[in-house]
């Protein structure tokens, strides 16, 4: 059976943050009920929608992301989980990683207990920063006190696998305040940390506000923060396994790793993406369309069947994001041809420029290669 990841999108937020370009909107209870209803309909009918047999797959991970999934009551999460279990074969229960994203301002002891009961075994908390001024700048609804409280409650509820999202290159952030955030997070004993540089995404208020780059850390400062984060976390046992992801050994996110390894995944919900047998799909981003006919193939806003060349390019630019890089054997197994037959010139040039290294059958980004990742990736397209 082929491994499968499942993504569930929850496009609701208390309010939208200025930098966020994910698909989300504020909503009342009624809207959420309609949405959950459509979501369950889509899950149950997935075989028809994606033309695949349930028996082919074994679910290895579930990821409920958003938006702010912790706005959902445990009851709703439970109904979604039930429908997944009814529809898909799960690997033996303990082995399946089930993550729910949460916002510190939206969880209660009761809701966390409820999530555990539904089978959620990994909690992701969007902290971003332990500095309240920076949180205000970002437009987050929580302060650091709310985070501490949420984290404690999560531990009490029984979560032992907890990710904390933090952000670098926030306007006004200094190395000092970053160090304090890192100290706070590692001190609590989370198992996983995602540390992203703030990206100004087109169409967000931040993109307009900081179009002149005024007030933002410059490229040099941003890189300094990144390198500082890497070395700080590694000293405390959190190993970088992907450009922006760190974990204690054994706690790498299985779900996200599957994206970079190009395992099949199905995304349910508004604007959710899927990769099924080398075709990439994306659901409509229009709520009304989705609610009306979650099972219709007409609502795909994207449906791209990947060519051999596309798959190779993805294999490289996704695989190279991971610290362990790509495997030459793996490439050969996947594409029945040696990697040098396809990318010799590119690999030689990148190696000459000190951007990648080749070592015992694996190809990885160097530290410099990480800084210029896009330059490296674009070489494989």
């Amino acid at each position: 059976m082929r491994p499968l990841g499942i993504y569930i999108h929850v496009p609701f937020c208390v309010r939208k943050c200025g930098y966020c370009d994910f698909l989300s909107m504020p909503s009342g209870k009624e809207g959420m009920d309609d949405y959950i209803f459509a979501l369950i309909e889509e899950i149950k009918g997935y075989g028809e929608k994606y033309k695949c047999e349930g028996s082919e797959y074994e679910v290895k991970s579930v990821y409920i992301g958003g938006g702010t999934p912790s706005l959902l009551l445990p009851d709703a999460v439970g109904r979604v989980m039930d429908s997944l279990h009814e529809t898909f074969a799960f690997a033996n229960d303990k082995g399946v990683e089930v993550t729910l994203e949460s916002n510190p301002g939206t969880v209660t002891m009761a809701s966390l207990n409820g999530y555990v009961k539904c089978g959620i075994n990994r909690l992701s908390i969007g902290l971003q920063s332990a500095n309240d001024n920076e949180l205000k700048t970002l437009g987050r609804i929580h302060d650091s006190a709310a985070f501490f409280k949420a984290f404690d409650m999560a531990v009490d509820a029984g979560f032992e696998n907890i990710n904390v999202d933090i952000m670098t290159a926030i306007p006004g952030q200094t190395l000092n305040s970053l160090e304090n955030t890192l100290k706070t997070v590692t001190g609590l004993g989370c198992t996983h940390i995602s540390a992203y540089s703030l990206i100004l995404e087109e169409g967000t208020p931040f993109y307009e506000k900081y179009s002149s780059k005024e007030g933002l850390p410059d490229e040099d400062e941003e890189r300094e923060m990144y390198h500082f984060t890497v070395s700080y976390l590694e000293r405390r046992g959190y190993l970088r396994y992907e450009i922006s992801n760190f974990s204690l050994p054994g706690y790498e996110s299985r779900h996200n790793t599957a994206y970079w390894e190009r395992d099949d995944y199905i995304g349910f919900g508004l604007g959710a993406s899927s990769l099924i047998k080398d075709t990439r799909y994306k659901n409509t981003a229009i709520m009304k369309e989705y609610i009306m006919s979650p099972l219709s193939r007409d609502i795909f806003s994207e449906q791209i069947t990947l060519s051999g060349r596309d798959r190779m390019a993805e294999y490289m630019f996704l695989g190279l994001r991971m610290s362990r890089g790509v495997s030459e054997d793996g490439f050969k197994k996947e594409f029945l041809t040696g990697i040098d037959g396809i990318y010799k010139n590119e690999l030689d040039a990148l190696k000459r420029d000190g951007l990648i290294l080749r070592d015992s059958g694996r190809i990885k980004l160097t530290e410099k290669g990480i800084d210029y990742g896009n330059y490296v990736f674009s070489r494989f397209l």
Binding site: Y196, I199, R223, A272, K282, A313, G373, N374, Y375, S378
Partner: protein, 602 residues
């Protein structure tokens, strides 16, 4: 066809005085066909043409006007370019006409090109009548302009139609005056065929199409013809005239008429513009004077952005040359840009027009090098080289001296801006000749200017320093000895041949500094630091640095945005494709052009 009912004319004007608008109005206010032709069902033929999808650029258009005397007249309106660069093209259009309408802006009055164009028309023995346009403008002073025309040009202007082409005012009067003031052609249809090719174009369906004005004789399908200069012969397949954007076939063209001839001429060079077509069986005594061969004044290298498109560029140039005889080209190679052509133009605007046509009409993506004039290099061994490509400059040790072309320039400017314009001319190494006031508020400045000072942004500078109130015309004067040096640009220590140019020794430092600044803005950051240097010989005279890029990486990439991220990377890669690799530096193509536009105030 009764010649007394034909009027062949063009419209001349200073740029922006409303030439095209008036042409549009004339076409709108007249008909496409005579009433007799309409009965003859010519329309069917036209439909056929439409189906074939053949359209012509409105180089010439034939319309039918029913005058107040109750008779129908055929108007052949022949288009002329308005810019100083195209005096040559203007003159070949004029040769096909019997008269010209002079359009003068009621607010601006006579400008430098008004004069130049009128003199050209008078040289061709054309009857010129003036039209005062834009009378609707609040600043219009038609009475003043009428007097100015009489005083300065010396042609009768009291009854000049006062019109607004934009608003359609006074067009009827213009149409009547075309009938009364432009003479009818006076050819002899009984004489042997004598037709002037004033333009031509290549159509993949019909072959070369010659646009002709018949001076004498007749031509119809089956007539054996001979091009008198090239000696090529052919049998006529079709004759016709120009509808609005359409070829309309007819039975015969005769003396005085304007139309086209096709004869399955495959080689575009056989229908050289300016040549005379005659009847091969019954040739005329001598060819028309044709046009004097004009010399290219400005040269630059043109390279296909994609090296594989070199043959396409060659074909396109060959076809363009067919109706732009003033364009010339020969193959050359550049270390930086690969295979391309050194092309000669009448001026910078001509260069830009050709470049645009190549890009638009032939779908080519071009890289153009800095334009250069022709320098005369006198070597110590007595040999004299005409230098069109700076890269070919011999070693300074074998150069005795160099000469550069000088032009006589006339600038017409309102009083308030005389100071700034004189300053500009001084900066451009101009030599003051004279200044005279044409009327109280306007002066005519005469300067001798080196041509190579004009081919960079001179027009722009002139405009910005006079707030648009200066006009400019020039003609070649001759060559003069000058202290010139070759300025080289080094990017990451490598000399980029396509960026080298010749400059006066005194301007070298300033020009070099500005080139470096401009290139610094145009060259994207790389993984390493890139020095940009300007050098004269082995001496570095200016330097800038493109700092190394610090990062280029997307922090996030998850299942939901793989497609989008991939598109982003693809875009990045596409951008690189459009760059030129010099050593290990990628230079955007527009960097090669942008250095030509060295802003005044930068």
């Amino acid at each position: 066809m009764d010649q007394s009912r034909i009027r062949n004319f063009c419209i001349i004007a200073h740029i922006d005085h409303g030439k095209s608008t008036l042409a549009d109005r004339i076409i709108e206010s007249t008909g496409l066909l005579t009433s007799r032709e309409m009965q003859a069902q010519v329309l069917d033929n036209m439909d056929l043409e439409r189906e074939r999808g053949i359209t012509i650029k409105s180089q010439a258009v034939r319309t039918v006007y029913k005058a107040k005397d109750g008779k129908e007249y055929i108007f052949n309106l022949i288009d002329t370019p308005g810019h100083v660069d195209f005096n040559y093209e203007v003159s070949r259009s004029l040769a096909a006409c019997d008269g010209a309408i002079l359009v003068v802006d009621a607010a601006q009055g006579i400008e430098a090109q008004t004069l130049a164009n009128v003199y050209l028309a008078l040289d061709h023995d054309l009857d010129v009548f003036p039209v005062i346009n834009k009378i609707d403008l609040p600043s219009a002073e038609p009475d003043r302009v009428v007097n100015e025309i009489e005083d300065v040009i010396g042609i009768e202007a009291q009854d000049a139609p006062r019109i607004s082409a934009k608003n359609g005012i006074g067009i009827d009067e213009v149409l009547e005056q075309i009938v009364t003031k432009i003479p009818a052609p006076k050819g002899d249809p009984g004489k042997p065929l004598k037709a002037l090719i004033f333009d031509s174009l290549y159509d993949s369906y019909k072959g070369a199409i010659a646009f002709v004005r018949l001076m004498d004789g007749r031509v119809s399908k089956g007539t054996p013809i001979k091009m008198m200069a090239t000696g090529a012969t052919a049998e006529v397949v079709e004759v016709g005239y120009f509808g609005a954007g359409q070829f309309i076939p007819c039975d015969e063209l005769s003396a005085g008429m304007v139309g086209y001839i096709t004869a399955s001429i495959k080689n575009v060079r056989d229908t050289a513009v300016g040549d005379t077509i005659t009847n091969a069986a019954k040739p005329c005594d001598e060819a028309l004077p044709g046009y004097k061969k004009v010399l290219s004044m400005v040269y630059c290298g043109m390279y296909p952005a994609d090296g594989a498109k070199y043959p396409d560029l060659r074909d396109a140039l060959e076809k363009l040359q067919l109706n732009d005889a003033s364009l010339n080209y020969e193959p050359e190679t550049s270390v930086a840009l690969g295979f391309g052509f050194r092309c000669g133009f009448l001026g910078l605007l001509h260069l830009e027009v050709v470049q645009e046509r190549l890009e638009r009409e032939y779908n080519l993506d071009l890289v153009t090098t800095a334009p250069s004039v022709i320098y005369k290099v006198h070597k110590t061994d007595g040999e004299v080289i005409d230098l069109t490509n700076p890269t070919n400059l011999p070693d300074p040790s074998v150069i005795d001296y160099m000469e550069e072309p000088i032009v006589d320039a006339e600038i017409m400017v309102t009083k308030d801006f005389v100071g700034p314009i004189m300053e500009l001319c001084q900066e451009r190494r101009g030599r003051y000749v004279s200044m005279e006031y044409m009327e109280e508020t306007r002066a005519l400045l005469k300067y001798e200017l080196p041509l190579n000072e004009i081919i960079y942004d001179f027009f722009d500078a002139l405009k910005s320093r006079s707030r648009g109130y200066a006009s400019f015309d020039y003609e070649m004067k001759g060559y003069e000895k000058s202290d010139l040096v070759k300025l080289d640009i080094l990017i990451n220590k490598e000399e980029v041949d396509a960026l080298s140019f010749i400059v006066h020794a005194e301007s070298a430092y300033e020009r070099g500094r500005r080139m470096c600044e401009r290139l610094k803005d145009e060259i994207p950051r790389h993984l390493f630091e890139i020095p940009i240097q300007a050098a004269v010989g082995s001496k570095i005279i200016a330097r800038e640095t493109v700092k190394a890029m610090r990062k280029d990486v997307l922090a996030k990439c998850y299942g939901g945005d793989i497609t989008r991220k991939k598109k982003l990377l693809e875009k990045q890669k596409e951008g690189k494709k459009r760059m030129r690799q010099i050593g290990n530096v990628e230079i955007p193509q527009k960097a090669f052009m942008s250095v030509l536009k060295l802003d005044e105030d930068k």
